[in-house]
């Protein structure tokens, strides 16, 4: 991670969406270190509520979630803000689904997540 990257991403506010509580907890430790601010949601509905009240630079989201999944949530958010930047986090057998919905995501990463793969993907977006 270059200092340049660190500085660049330190300016961003992220919204991280995943239904797995353990992942959220772990992300809660690291995302505030890497970014200016981090919001967390357990499903699409929660994410949209947070999105409506805050200015979010990048949404990082899981695909399969109860109540509302990642694709559905992003399609809705794109109707509010066409320019919204999104990054999908995929399980091993979901890559095809993401590739089919290219217009919804700016980049994707395949689990497991680490800050290196995260930053590599952000490089493509910003």
């Amino acid at each position: 991670m270059t200092t340049e990257q660190k500085v660049k991403y330190k300016e961003l506010t992220v919204l991280f969406v995943d239904d797995e509580k353990l992942i959220i907890e772990a992300m809660n430790d690291i995302l505030p270190v890497l970014f200016k601010k981090a919001f967390f949601a357990l499903n699409g509905i929660e994410a949209i509520e947070i999105y409506n009240d805050n200015k979010i630079d990048i949404i990082i989201t899981d695909l399969n979630m109860p109540k509302m999944g990642g694709l559905e949530m992003v399609s809705y958010i794109k109707t509010i803000n066409k320019e919204q930047k999104t990054l999908f986090v995929s399980g091993h057998n979901e890559v095809e689904i993401i590739k089919e919905s290219k217009d919804l995501c700016d980049a994707y990463i395949v689990k497991p997540i680490s800050y290196k793969v995260l930053f590599q993907a952000l490089e493509k977006i910003f």
């Binding site: 992942i23 992300m27 690291i30 270190v33 497991p112 997540i113």
Partner: protein
Amino acid sequence: MMTIQQLSSLASNFTVLYAEDDKEIRDNIQETLEAIFTNVYVASNGTEGIELSQNNHIDIIISDIKMPVCNGFEMIKTIKKNYPQVATILLTGYNQHDYLLQSIELSINKYLIKPIVKDKLFGAIEDILYLLNSREKYKKEQLCLNKDIKMIAISKLLNNLAHQWRQSLSIINISLDLVSLNKTAKIEEENIQSIVLNAQKHITKMDDILKDVFQEYENSQKKEYVDFHLLINHCLEKFQTKFQKYSIGIQINIQNNLEYFLQIDTFSHIVNNILENAIDAIILNKIKKGIISIHIYKQEEFLNLDISDNAGGIKKSIQDEIFEPYTTTKNSYIGTGLGLYIVYVLTTKSLQGMISAVNINGGSKFSISLPYRIKSL
């Protein structure tokens, strides 16, 4: 009417028991039957027929009714106890209703009146062969279907494992990131300890998940009733082209009435592996008349499987270690050194049996003994 050749091509490996007390008729019909079927067992009375059925697998019974010692009905009744599926053709000199009633009771498939006319006999055999072939096809389809269902279950299991592992790996990755970013992030020493502990917890969790998956896999390998004839034929089919190309002969001797339940896939894997070894040895050592014999029988409280060949036997230098991993019976370019090791593990661990290999007159013999248990135990 079908020709002998046409019937013969339908007959595949079906075996016939033919019982008739009149020598002249018997010799005549036996000749015709042997032109159609590869295996024809001939008896001159019912008792002989029953004895033959105890040592050989029987698919079709063709029998006279009136015979000394034990008549056709009694013989069929006894044999049907062991082979409820056996197909039957009755031949009789009389046209009596009494016989017909008994025939219905025994579900006789075909009933021919003497003197036997060729086209009537051929017609009856044709019908029976169609019946047996369609049954066989159905059995095979069921076998394939079961395999597919198992494969789907296993791939589901693996998907689940992959998903959970990726979650844990994510958390471990992030924990490592945090520790490595320690200086920038200015994390308290205490917090670092808890982050490391958390990562370790996830590593344990991954291990537990793996154990669960193995357990579930073991459980999915349920014991099933084995039809050894069907299983061995199924295994041999794969090597059919090699048998023909290198003119390898196969001798099969399977004891009848074996009531055995085991993990069919595991057992097939063992048989396939040993067969493959024998075939490779025959080819490598350029044996002209290669013979592989398969013998399955019950002895005391063990089910035994012997597979022997005439391919020169196992080299003395490796005899003591052939079941060790990374020992190959073949040229090191070809053998992986794992085949027999896997056979050993499957036999001893999955099937709780024993395995041994010895050299016998110009070849090697692999013997597997499995504890003989009936389903309920």
